[in-house]
């Protein structure tokens, strides 16, 4: 409690269902015939998982990661409860914004909002570019 690990744990707990759903859908979307074909070609189940299933499910897994990341980035309630708001230790950006506004420091809050917005856009931009490059390859 009230360490940065607690903040991590809080984020993981609230974001996990998103990852679970996306990953499940991604794994389900892999054509079972690919796995069957690999089996007849002599591949072990472990090899099939890493060379067929995961690569083909990867776009979906990645989408889940982005969702999870976004959810964790904005996590507020659970973090405040279990990790508190100790500057330099457990203070996350959303908490810092909240308390900055509370204490009337709108400049700090504005800067933080700008930082987190730019950062989010950068991540999404990079992921999209990566996904597009990959898509072009396999077509």
């Amino acid at each position: 409690m009230f360490t940065w690990w607690a903040a991590v744990l809080a984020s993981v707990v609230v974001a996990f269902p998103l990852m679970y759903q996306s990953a499940k859908a991604a794994f389900r979307s892999v054509d079972v015939n690919f796995e069957k074909a690999a089996r007849t070609l002599g591949a072990s189940e472990v090899r099939i998982f890493f060379t067929i299933t995961v690569p083909l499910a990867w776009p979906g897994i990645l989408a889940g990661l982005v969702l999870t990341f976004a959810r964790a980035l904005g996590e507020f309630g659970a973090t405040l409860m279990v990790a508190g708001n100790i500057p330099g230790q457990t203070q996350t950006v959303p908490l810092a914004i909240y308390f900055a506004v509370e204490s009337g420091d709108n400049t700090t809050a504005g800067v933080l909002v700008a930082v987190i917005t730019v950062f989010s856009f950068a991540v999404i931009f990079w992921v999209n570019r990566w996904a597009k490059r990959r898509g072009n390859n396999s077509e």
Partner: protein, 220 residues
């Protein structure tokens, strides 16, 4: 030599079949839903028959009496899937190479792959992805991949189904040619009478899981 006698309980009927062939092409001919693909899955080890046995060149692949069920990856059978099931995230070269990498004693080399692709006239496609191939090209690549592992038995599920008439006729001849070259039993599934007549050394007619005596070749 391939001999199998299998029963398999399916949703709507029981599959019952006893066949024995040499290094010939056995055609399972019958309407959709007659259990043809199930037979191939049982032979490949992707499905477990309810009872019976499967023997390939004196090797027991499955026996319900002796509780033997060799897993698919050790059966050494080539399987050509209806939709080809080419790995969409790998190039043609890596698709064909996939089955060769497991062999520790004689790892497959690039030269083997190229030679095999040449045999099927698709060596110029080695660095393409399956999504960039036509139906006939996919078919040839899938055949090359299935045969790369030097199988003792080749299973073909509706290999000519999705192709236009010209490609169909040329591939039919190609399958015959490959069969003569490889000299292993082929089991081919089709619902097309003409293909069955052209390709089959042995033709069995399958309906609702039962075997019917084949119509004489002359009527086909």
């Amino acid at each position: 030599m391939l001999e199998f006698q299998i029963t398999k309980t399916l949703w709507y009927f029981d599959l019952e079949l006893h066949v024995r062939i040499g290094n010939q092409i056995l055609v399972l001919w019958g309407p959709s839903g007659s259990g043809k693909t199930t037979v191939l899955h049982c032979l490949a080890g992707l499905l477990k028959p309810s009872a019976g046995f499967i023997e390939l060149n004196d090797r027991v692949l499955f026996s319900s009496d002796r509780k033997i069920n060799v897993p698919a990856r050790l059966r050494n059978t080539g399987y050509l899937f209806q939709d080809y099931a080419l790995f969409s995230h790998m190039t043609v070269r890596h698709n064909v190479m996939y089955g060769l990498l497991k062999r520790k004693n004689r790892p497959g080399t690039d030269a083997d792959v190229v030679e095999l692709l040449k045999l099927f006239g698709v060596e110029h496609l080695a660095d393409r992805y399956p999504g960039q191939l036509s139906g006939g090209e996919k078919q040839r690549v899938a055949l090359a991949r299935a045969l790369a592992v030097q199988p003792e038995l080749l299973l073909l599920d509706e290999p000519l189904n999705a192709l236009d008439k010209n490609t169909r006729v040329s591939l039919r001849q190609e399958i015959k040619k490959i069969h003569r070259r490889w000299r292993i039993p082929f089991v081919l599934v089709t619902h097309n009478e003409e293909d069955a007549g052209f390709l089959g050394d042995e033709i069995v007619y399958l309906n609702r899981g039962r075997l019917f005596s084949p119509p004489s070749p002359a009527t086909l």
